[in-house]
């Protein structure tokens, strides 16, 4: 699974996710990536989110929308909302990762697997990483 979230200079956010799913899947199984609100969500009132991991848990947690709702309704910060959603996914038995950006250009990422291919760019420069720091 791959994903991208962005905030532009007008404060608009957007999210994109694309995947081949899980190896050896059958029966027409679809994970969270194409389900709006689960693996992909964007709302200028909160932020943009893309997920990767065991899709079934991200679907049940409605992860991407939940992260935005914790910000929009709960008043949480981006980092705290992301950590809370990853913990919720874990409580449902799943592992994976999230990337998120806010309409003010703030960003966060987190993952509960040994590694996540991730990178960011902004006027301040770039970061590229794979393993837990």
């Amino acid at each position: 699974t791959i994903g991208a979230v962005a905030c532009d200079s007008r404060g608009h956010v957007a999210a994109a996710t694309s995947t081949g799913g899980l190896t050896a899947k059958r029966w027409g199984r679809i994970g969270d990536s194409p389900l709006i609100g689960a693996g992909t969500y964007a709302d200028d009132r909160a932020g943009a989110v893309s997920a990767t991991g065991l899709g079934e848990s991200f679907i049940r947690a409605v992860a991407a929308h939940e992260l935005c709702a914790q910000i929009r309704i709960g008043g949480e910060g981006l980092r705290a909302a992301l950590d809370a959603v990853l913990a919720d996914v874990g409580a449902l038995g799943g592992t994976g990762g999230l990337i998120a950006v806010g309409p003010n250009g703030e960003s966060a990422w987190g993952f509960t697997t040994p590694g996540m291919y991730r990178a960011s760019a902004g006027p301040e420069g770039r970061q590229v990483a794979i393993y837990a720091e």
Partner: protein
């Protein structure tokens, strides 16, 4: 207002001891190419929606990642593609699932958002819609790489339970 782009190439059981230096280098190079594609749009005042599509397209084309070409394989050995895109300014969204012949899944998702009255299109219908929108169609084998075929072979030889540990995704 400042711009920002964040991308991921998937998560899983990768550790320094099970990722070769060459795989790591390919992944880092792929991530940087995707940042190049999105940054070129954002740094010149472009839209977040265009930037995430451009970055996702760069990653879909890169066989190092599980999307587009280089996707993992289903139990019966073919590739099924899913994608979604969403614009935070008005919460329009487009998504596709189960596609087999559309080269650019994220472009098909965006076409679903902008040129159909629906959000989610699936399987043959989604491929047919993408073809009608002029999005390139390829044979399903175009997406398959020897590495992914070998991963499927290993899983099937071990009993065929799908990859819940996300060893390969």
């Amino acid at each position: 207002m400042t711009w920002k782009l964040v991308i991921h190439g998937g998560c899983g059981a990768m550790r320094p001891e099970n990722v070769t230096a060459e795989q790591e280098e390919l992944a880092r190079a792929g991530l940087n190419l995707a940042l190049d594609a999105g940054e070129a749009i954002l740094a010149s005042g472009g839209a977040a929606l265009d930037a995430v599509e451009a970055a996702a397209r760069a990653l879909e084309e890169n066989p190092a990642f599980n999307a587009g070409r280089g996707s993992v394989l289903t139990a019966d050995g073919h590739v099924e593609l899913d994608a979604a895109i969403m614009d935070g300014s008005d919460r329009r969204a487009g998504a596709v699932a189960g596609m087999r012949t559309t080269r650019a899944p994220i472009a098909a998702a965006r076409a679903a958002m902008e040129h159909s009255p629906h959000v989610l299109l699936t399987y043959e219908g989604a491929d047919r819609f993408a073809a009608e929108q002029g999005i390139e169609q390829v044979d399903n084998r175009w997406f398959v790489t020897p590495e992914r075929q070998a991963q499927l072979d290993r899983i099937m030889a071990a009993g065929g339970k799908f990859d819940t540990d996300i060893k390969y995704g």
